[in-house]
């Protein structure tokens, strides 16, 4: 489980959401993303968009499976890095 603050100004919308889901689907592990008490399947764009994560919200990424550690690290990096 890893915590990270949403850096992109757009929040988890537009391009960041698309990239986030694309990255998550590269891993075998089951991955969920949690924000403001709601949870979403990180591999579903519908779920992730529905979460409506805003700029500077804190999110928790939890992966379970063979490549859980790498998945969490990669996804946290993606959200933590500020998008132009």
């Amino acid at each position: 489980m890893i915590k990270v603050v949403m850096a992109s100004e757009h929040g988890l919308h537009a391009r960041p959401a698309s990239e986030f889901v694309a990255k998550a689907t590269q891993f075998d592990s089951e991955i969920t993303i949690e924000s403001n008490g709601n949870e979403a399947n990180a591999k579903s764009i519908i779920n992730v968009l529905g979460l409506g994560v805003q700029h500077l919200d804190e999110v928790i990424i939890t992966a379970t499976g063979s490549d859980a550690k790498d998945a969490e690290k990669a996804l946290a990096e993606l959200l933590g890095a500020s998008h132009a």
Binding site: H13, R15, S18, V21, K43, S44, L49, G50
Partner: protein
């Protein structure tokens, strides 16, 4: 050759592209086994992905990689595992794939539309596109989404504001619609985008087939289908002179608008949403004479929050500062119905419960808009304008509410004005002028109410004329009353953008003209060559009919 109503001038020569919402009837229960229905779903999904990949490649090459990204997002939506699981549940109960798509996707469309965020509402449109295309694929209906390569003249029943989201501005040469008039949404959109349009062509539109070559003559309101060589050559000639004239207008960009006798005039723009700002800035207009705030209330199913309104008003005020921005408070009703307000069906919507009348009754909604406006006022020069004022009592009541709200908003600064669009207001303009900083004449509705003509009713729309002597006298009355009281009188209806009217309006003492962005430079050229001639105004009282007024304005 077809004829229609000229909505935005200019000539276009291009290929016809029909936009038609193909109605496919959704069958609820499947005739084949659950296993076969599932493989039918998977096959259609596969074809959908191939279609999106093709569109993405084509767009990246022809338009740009940024624009191509939207199809990547569509692909992700199409392949979404959560949605797929929900659709499978319907298939396992014996439903068809179409029914699965329709029910599941509509649920998410509703969810996205309820989100307080323009971006998410746009994603709802993506979902609608995906649903329609998958259902087309399942029923082998040919996909008619405009391919982005050749330049197109769009042919459609009517161009709803939401359809404009899909219009690719780079490849749209013009619009032709079956219904609508000079001031319908599609016409206003065409003028704002500065591209030729002909509306209200009627049923004869059916003669146009996809792929036909068209000449769209926005000056005469004529459409030529598959023209012969000479006709095409003569139009190419006209196209050339038009572009030369456009080049000569460029010299008026970023110039002041001042008459030869030294009177500073404000040539401003009408806008319907924040998306129009690039066209306004490009035109170097002296301000915004009418920001129709209704767009914040339409195409959705709940009231816009104070925050959302504040962001929209702030964005426009900031970009225009220090130039003035006139924002009209909510003007819904009449031809602009909004479902969630549960407005009753009315016999005469134009004479009914609308605009300021709704605001004076639903004061919470009115206060929310006023608070958003006043909070945004420190980001630029705000002018608040009340629509549909017909009496002094209404004005004073609305003004009292505004002053009460402004007491709650620290250092709010604004000017207050009213639309003069009802003959009653025109007749007591002197009384109203004492209580406001400016008037703006709403000629579209003022003509309708004065001559009792519904401009959108094809049966009588030809009776709708800004050249009616009664209307001309009314203009003189309003402008004189405003000037006598020392307030600024402007105009934001269509007449303000008509070149042949500008000299007379200047002589009457009109100080602000608000029009669509593509008319600004043309208007500035006329203003900067105008020498005041007050005598001319007296002569209008001898004019007996529309023909004499037209001759007087040398049309």
């Amino acid at each position: 050759m077809l004829k229609g109503i000229k909505a935005s001038d200019g000539i276009a020569i291009g290929v016809a592209k029909w936009i038609k919402e193909v109605e496919i009837e959704i069958i609820e229960m499947s005739f084949i086994s659950v296993e076969d229905e599932k493989s039918r779903y998977l096959k259609a999904k596969e074809q959908g992905i191939i279609r999106l990949e093709k569109l993405k490649a084509e767009t990246a090459e022809k338009v740009g990689s940024y624009e191509a990204e939207v199809f990547e997002a569509h692909k992700q939506l199409l392949m979404d595992t959560v949605m797929e699981k929900e659709i499978f549940q319907y298939l396992e109960k014996g439903h068809t794939t179409e029914f699965g798509y329709e029910t599941v996707i509509n649920k998410y469309i509703k969810m996205f539309e309820q989100m307080d965020n323009a971006y998410m509402r746009e994603r709802a449109l993506d979902l609608k596109d995906i649903k329609m295309n998958q259902i087309r694929i399942l029923n082998n209906v040919e996909d008619n989404s405009p391919s982005l390569s050749e330049d197109m003249i769009l042919v459609t029943y009517d161009l709803t504001p939401s359809e404009t989201v899909k219009i690719n501005k780079a490849h749209t040469l013009g619009f032709i619609t079956e219904i609508g008039g000079e001031t319908s949404h599609s016409a206003i959109i065409a003028r704002t985008m500065g591209i030729p349009a002909i509306v209200g062509v009627g049923k004869t539109l059916e003669h146009i087939k996809d792929g036909d070559e068209l000449i769209l003559d926005g000056l005469k309101g004529e459409i030529h289908i598959n023209p012969d060589k000479d006709l095409k050559a003569s139009y190419q000639e006209i196209l050339k002179t038009l572009s030369d004239e456009k080049a000569s207008l460029e010299s008026y960009k970023n110039q002041a608008s001042v008459t030869l006798d030294g009177q500073v005039i404000e040539i401003a723009c009408n806008i319907a949403s924040v998306e129009d700002m690039p066209y306004v800035l490009e035109s170097s207009a002296d301000g915004i004479g009418l920001f129709r705030s209704e767009f914040l209330y339409m195409n959705r199913d709940h009231y816009p929050s104070e925050e959302e309104q504040f962001e929209a008003y702030k964005a426009v005020l900031e970009q225009m500062a220090p130039k003035p921005v006139t924002i009209r408070t909510m003007d819904v009703g009449g031809d602009k119905a909004v479902p969630y307000m549960q407005l009753e069906e009315e016999m005469n919507p134009f004479l009914g419960f609308r605009a300021i009348r709704i605001c004076l009754e639903d004061q919470d909604m009115f206060r929310t808009q006023l608070r958003a406006l006043l909070r945004a006022s420190k980001y630029g020069r705000l002018r608040i304008m009340f629509p549909m004022i017909a009496s002094l009592e209404e004005l004073l009541e609305a003004k009292a509410i505004l002053e009460a709200v402004s007491a709650e908003v620290p250092n709010a600064s604004y000017e207050l004005g009213i639309m003069i669009e009802i003959p009653a207001a025109a007749m007591i303009a002197d009384l109203l002028a004492e209580h406001v900083d400016f008037f703006s004449i709403g000629t579209n509705d003022l003509i309708q109410y004065t001559t009792a003509v519904d401009r959108m009713n094809a049966k009588v729309s030809k009776l709708y004329s800004p050249y009616h002597p009664a209307f001309i006298r009314l203009l003189d009355r309003i402008i004189s009353a405003g000037n006598a009281a020392g307030i600024e009188v402007g105009m934001c209806g269509n007449v303000a953008g008509k070149p042949d009217f500008i000299p007379l309006l200047l002589n009457m003492g009109l100080k602000e003209f608000s029009m669509s962005p593509d008319m600004v430079l043309k208007a500035r050229k006329i203003v900067n060559h105008h020498q005041l001639n007050k005598e001319q105004v007296k002569e209008i009282y001898q004019l007996k009919n529309i023909e004499e007024v037209k001759a007087f304005l040398n049309i």
